[in-house]
Homo-oligomer: 318 residues x 2
């Protein structure tokens, strides 16, 4: 394991200290908690937006704290759900009396702990709503689909909407609408290593790729020989557009996400093919995002996320 | 070599097509040239800003095209200088009659080719000035110091200054002033592989790191056993502050740059220590930047850049 760390047990703590120091003009850390909060939260009259989950996916989620985005991000240990009391502190820190929307990626630990935190918040008189992102269509059973890079689109669109005055129920409804129109699929070339374990999460042969791996290296749908970027892009895109049922004349957001060690050069090569295929089907691209939005430590790989847009969502894309 | 590419010979071409497609609201490609240009260039009355160099350092340089930044970026093959005629096209595309400033990283091929392009531009009646960034203090002889992540600070500060009306001579003078106050030092854990070669640029043992490697994997100052992040951060910072002669009470910009596959988590852990050390010496941080600003494909490693600020520079940091 070659990493710039100190004691592997302290990586999350030290990362958060670094983030809070580097971005003190925008966020602050809740004393004693692994929670980062927008500096000016709670904002009077505004629904609070909280997300989070295991660490190791930076810039998710703390990197999305700010105007038109999140009010707080709760950081669990690496690839591990945060605890309910920690989530509760985030909720309390951002509630202005208008309630708090929890944006949760669909992993059992996250769902359970955010749920428990919501109950604890209710006991303290704070209204919450929860939405569960399940954009990873590599999992067959829809209920079991994991939350991946599509989560960032929920942050962005709902973040803008609550800043413009949507109330808690409306925000939750909009978030579920975005989630219903978002699908992702990834492909990995090499694993990442959780600092506390010191061992790669999986192994792949030198000429292999794995289609559909999760953001923690969960097994995907299929292992196969590495294909050229254009073939990979087409396979990811075809799966996603088919599942979303995107049609001629419709409009989408495209997010090509890097999993960690895949160079921006390769992400743009993948994007190029995806964009050409969409153009060929008369599907227009409203917004393009290419980069590391939801990483998996140093995993090599990428994913394509599509959001099928309508006017309800479009007005909140700034 | 595990990469999302098609024919290795086409990586730069295809990357630029992807970039131009993804960011068509902000930039355009010069037809037939590996040059990306700000969409609204040339801007009447404004000095044009051109940078570039070998590809593989994305987001440098095309990612820095835009308001308060570059007008054009010239992309050579991977880790290879762009050709003079290509640079000339960029100069012609952004000159509004106010002249063009060339921001060149100190590599012999780049310096030679930008120089030749400047002569060709002069023959066509276009005024240019060149500045050469040599922030990498791992090289002992000052004249041979390579241009690395500090180049991005030159883009930002001079980009803002020319937008605010500085003329060509003033812009060149400001750029040289920024360069004179900028130092970087890096450390690598693993190499990158140029697609056309298919082989890693260097090798390091599993427990080794190399201090002072260049952004193309050029040999550094010293190989040693991997140290904890805090020790690495302190060594980089001490070298940079000593060379810059930063003193108690002074103010700096800190850039912790990821070389490619080093997770953001680790960069923040390095930043944390650097910030604490600076605070302990009563050196205040005006601006913090943590992320991949000048990458080296999938190299693992990071660098610390410091810019010692004064009022001349501060007014252009937005």
């Amino acid at each position: 394991m070659k990493k710039f760390i100190n004691n592997p047990e302290n990586v999350v703590e030290e990362m958060l200290e670094g983030m809070a120091a580097a971005h003190s003009d925008e966020l602050r850390r809740l004393p004693g908690w692994n929670v980062l909060v927008r500096k000016d939260a709670p904002l009077p009259g505004k629904v609070g937006l909280v997300s989070g989950g295991g660490s190791g996916h930076e810039p998710a989620h703390a990197g999305y704290i700010g105007e038109n985005m999140l009010d707080a991000a709760v950081a669990g240990e690496v690839f591990t759900s945060p605890a309910p009391d920690q989530i509760l502190e985030a909720i309390k820190a951002v509630d202005s009396g208008s309630g708090v929307l929890l944006i949760v990626k669909n992993f059992s630990g996250d769902v359970m702990n955010f749920d428990m935190a919501a109950e604890m918040a209710a006991a303290e008189g704070i209204d919450t709503e929860q939405v569960v992102v399940k954009d990873d269509m590599a999992v067959e059973n829809e209920e079991d689909r994991r939350g991946t890079a599509g989560t960032v689109l929920v942050h962005k669109i709902v973040g803008t909407a609550v800043e413009e005055g949507l109330d808690l129920q409306e925000a939750a409804e909009l978030a579920r609408h975005v989630i219903g129109h978002t699908r992702s699929m990834g492909v990995s070339l090499s694993p990442s290593t959780v600092p506390a374990s010191g061992k790669p999460g999986f192994t792949l042969a030198d000429d292999e790729m794995e289609l559909g791996t999760g953001i923690h290296g969960e097994p995907g749908m299929e292992r196969k020989k590495i294909q050229p970027a254009d073939v990979v892009a087409e396979e990811l895109l075809n799966n996603v557009t088919a599942d979303l049922d995107v049609k001629n004349g419709e409009e989408v957001v495209v997010l090509v996400n890097g999993q960690g060690s895949t160079p921006l050069m390769e992400l743009y090569i993948v994007y190029r093919k995806a964009a050409a295929l969409l153009a060929g089907r008369n599907i227009s691209i409203h917004t393009s995002m290419v980069g590391e939005y939801m990483s998996s430590l140093e995993m090599a790989g990428c994913s394509i996320t599509l959001l099928k847009l309508d006017d309800t969502m479009k007005k909140y894309i700034t």
